[in-house]
Amino acid sequence: MKFGVIVFPGSNCDHDAYHVISKHVGQPVDFVWHRDTDLSSYDAVIIPGGFSYGDYLRAGALARFSPVMNSVKQFAAEGKLVLGICNGFQILCEAGLLPGALIRNRDLHFVCEHVNVRVESTNTPFTNELKQGSVLRMPIAHAEGNYVCDDAALAELQREDRIIFRYCEPDGRLSNEANPNGSRDNIAGICNRERNVMGLMPHPERACEDLLGSSDGRIVFSSLAGILAAAA
């Protein structure tokens, strides 16, 4: 199995993602420059965090016009796995691969802290090794993480079990106080209808070593690797 980490001008979590795949998952991984269009050798691609194109216009808005994004759309349509983290989540929404949008945080601040998220669905290739209802501690670092969508889109996400992570208290309770950015329904991560594309604002790749405060994020990557190994 082989992973690709897409690199846009302004991506800054690309090396973290690369590190986790090579060191913790122990699988081959390449950086893929945003002007490249050939993803045929990959089984999964990660769209990493950062500030692609300086967040000009809207976060993630300009990255979606990079040549690689047409290939990512094709890749996703073939059922291959796409994980968007933070800016990657914003890009997937702008590109229409995930519903909704991420707007300015409720309190306007850039929020950089560890948060708790509850695992709402284990029915994805990214969360199948997690326990339903368990609480993960992962860092967030964003100013535009406030998830919005209309009532119909929210109802669809709920009905189809596509809300994957929600911000919560350490004991798993949902509350307004535990919601760091004002996201609708405390949404921290969602997947597409086919469940092969997931986006989330927290950074699992920065939560893979106890030395960094949490290793809860590792299971996201081991879930992915487990699914790919089983399919091979």
């Binding site: 216009l57 809207r58 808005a61 016009f65 929404c93 702008e94 519903p99 909704g100 949008a101 707007i103 300015r104 945080n105 409720r106 309190d107 306007l108 406030n146 919005v148 969508c149 209309d150 004002g182």
Partner: protein
């Protein structure tokens, strides 16, 4: 010729920046303000190769595909000769 594109948040989308601006101007003593919403404004210079109708068509398409995100924003296009 110039195309002017105004992009505004849909009424249903909360605008925390607009709220903070309203709070600040009220601190300065401005009264009678019931709401402030922040938006974006684009000026697109059009060269002589397009007529007014083509310019409007092009700017409208640009506004829909790039300048706004239809999930959260509305837009308005004006052409200035």
């Amino acid at each position: 010729m110039k195309a002017k594109v105004y992009v505004t948040l849909k009424p249903s989308v909360l605008d925390p920046q607009g709220k903070a601006i309203k709070h600040s101007v009220e601190l300065l003593g401005y009264q009678g303000i019931s709401d402030i919403r922040q938006g974006k404004y684009f000026e697109i210079a059009i060269d002589g190769s397009l007529n007014e109708e083509q310019a409007r068509e092009s700017a409208t398409r640009m506004a829909r595909e790039v300048l706004s995100n239809p999930i959260i924003e509305d837009f308005l296009v004006e052409i200035e000769a």
